[in-house]
């Protein structure tokens, strides 16, 4: 209920601002909705949305699985941490644009180059979060598992993973927003479809309604993913915690 109210407030502010500055700079909500409907009925909206979503899914999965594995390793093994740390700092501070441009130069304007570049941008933050999570693991529970001779996999699944779950959720949430921001840059620079490409076109034509139509649709999709996937996962992972009043 509160969320709905907050959303209505957002629409109201937008509408008032649109009336104040004029439709050329900021089109009103109905104008944007009209473009959305037109793009949807021609099928273009779904084509571009689908292309972008596929890239987000691929790059996100790649970065999360690789980053979690490396982060866990660096949290557990001191040598890996020492060796990996300088690389991590380099990756963390490398601007997304540099990675994308270099990927396109080295691998051509290909799908693989785009996805790899997006994944590389997300990778270091996933590593850092999971490394922190691994460092915070409760040693006394490890000892318990070892004394009771729990097989490695069972100990990982029931002792280690539940402790990492909040970190994985945090990493997924921040990662999703990061990937979604970067994927558009990659599309703008070197892909013939996707929301980023459409926004590039809209920019060249100074077509604000179109720009807003595409970006808001995608924001809505991200919101749905967050509510339907990330939050239920978090709720499940935290179900054992006594609920705060």
């Amino acid at each position: 209920m509160l969320r709905l109210l907050s959303f209505t407030l957002f629409l109201a502010i937008w509408w008032i601002a649109a009336l104040a500055v004029g439709g050329a700079k900021l089109p009103s909500p109905p104008a944007v909705l009209q473009v959305m409907i037109a793009e949807a009925s021609s099928g273009a909206l779904f084509l571009h949305l689908g292309a972008t979503l596929a890239r987000v899914a691929l790059a996100f999965t790649l970065a999360m699985s690789l980053g979690s594995a490396i982060g866990y390793l660096m949290g557990r093994v001191k040598l890996a941490d020492r060796l990996g740390d300088p690389w991590l700092i380099l990756l963390l501070n490398l601007p997304a644009l540099v990675v994308i441009v270099l990927a396109y130069i080295w691998a051509g304007l290909t799908e693989a180059a785009a996805i790899a570049a997006i994944a590389i941008n997300k990778l270091p933050t996933a590593i850092v979060t999971l490394r922190e999570g691994t460092r915070a693991l409760d040693r006394s529970l490890d000892e318990m598992a070892s004394v009771f001779a729990m097989p490695r996999w069972r100990a990982f699944r029931h002792v280690v993973l539940p402790q990492l779950a909040p970190y994985i959720a945090a990493s997924a949430r921040s990662g999703l927003s990061l990937v979604w921001k970067i994927v558009l840059v990659a599309e703008l620079l070197g892909r013939p479809n996707g929301v980023g490409f459409e926004i590039g076109v809209a920019f060249q034509l100074f077509d604000t309604p179109r720009l807003l139509a595409y970006s808001l649709t995608f924001a809505a999709v991200v919101l749905v993913i967050e509510t339907l996937l990330v939050q239920p996962f978090e709720a499940r992972a935290n179900r054992w915690r006594p609920r705060a009043a």
């Binding site: 006394s140 529970l141 000892e143 318990m144 070892s146 004394v147 009771f148 001779a149 729990m150 069972r154 029931h158 002792v159 539940p162 992972a237 054992w240 915690r241 006594p242």
Partner: protein, 242 residues
């Protein structure tokens, strides 16, 4: 089965004081069906000794011989349950082979039936300790290590649990190592008592109790305790004089 402990020394390195000795040479052995009790002042190195015996700490001088196939049941000082798994899951994860009947029986004895599906965060410390006991018993251990398992339980329950430990020890050939502060628990449960010195710990006295556990009546227990008290008193005055 036999547990042989022969620790020749254990030192800790810390930034503040450099190296310091935690354990002096300690040597003892335990047979199947025997209950050894370690009694010593707080901080004397009992927990360090347990960690070495359990194979959690390999950085020591000496030798621990325990059959590699020996199943270990451990009750830590704090319950060490998985907060994200229910009481029943906690026990089953440590003891996957436990039968439903055996589990129900354990829960009945430890009065945990009502708490099977609770998470450890919803339990009092006393209840959590009982779950830890259930977990250690459920694995049907060959080596049972109890690190002050009855602390913070009320007398009636502590007494019942002590009887349950005695029953379990009698029902299977299990080597039991009990760490306690309570002379009463030691005398009621132990076959051999090892009195430890302050840090660095060494065994100052090894006292076997000749009377079998199930024939120890209140009179015998009182007599053993009185004897031990006299002996401890004697040691103290001797030390004070010298």
């Amino acid at each position: 089965m036999r547990l042989e402990v022969d620790i020749t020394g254990k030192t800790f390195r810390s930034a503040a004081v450099g190296t310091h000795e935690v354990l002096a040479p300690v040597k003892f052995a335990l047979q199947s069906g025997e209950v050894g009790v370690l009694i010593g002042p707080s901080g004397c190195g009992k927990s360090t000794m347990l960690r070495i015996i359990l194979g959690l700490d390999h950085d020591f001088a000496g030798r621990i011989a325990r059959p590699p196939e020996a199943r270990i049941g451990m009750v830590f000082q704090e319950p060490r349950l998985l907060p994200w798994r229910s009481v029943e899951q906690n026990v089953r994860l440590a003891a996957p082979d436990v039968t439903d009947g055996k589990l129900s029986e354990l829960f009945r004895i430890l009065e945990l039936e009502a708490h099977r599906s609770h998470f450890p965060g919803e339990l009092s410390l006393g209840l959590a300790r009982r779950v830890a006991l259930a977990r250690a018993f459920a694995v049907e251990p060959d080596l049972l290590v109890l690190d002050e398992p009855l602390a913070s339980l009320d007398d009636a329950l502590a007494g019942r649990l002590r009887d349950e430990i005695a029953t379990l020890v009698a029902s299977r050939p299990v080597m039991t190592l009990l760490v306690t502060h309570s002379l009463d628990d030691a005398v009621r449960l132990g076959d051999r008592l090892f009195f430890l010195s302050p840090r660095p710990a060494r065994i100052v006295a090894e006292v076997p109790i000749g009377i079998p556990r199930d024939t120890r009546g209140e009179a015998e227990i009182a007599a053993i305790k009185a004897g031990l008290a006299q002996r401890i008193q004697g040691d103290r005055t001797e030390r004070d004089v010298s």
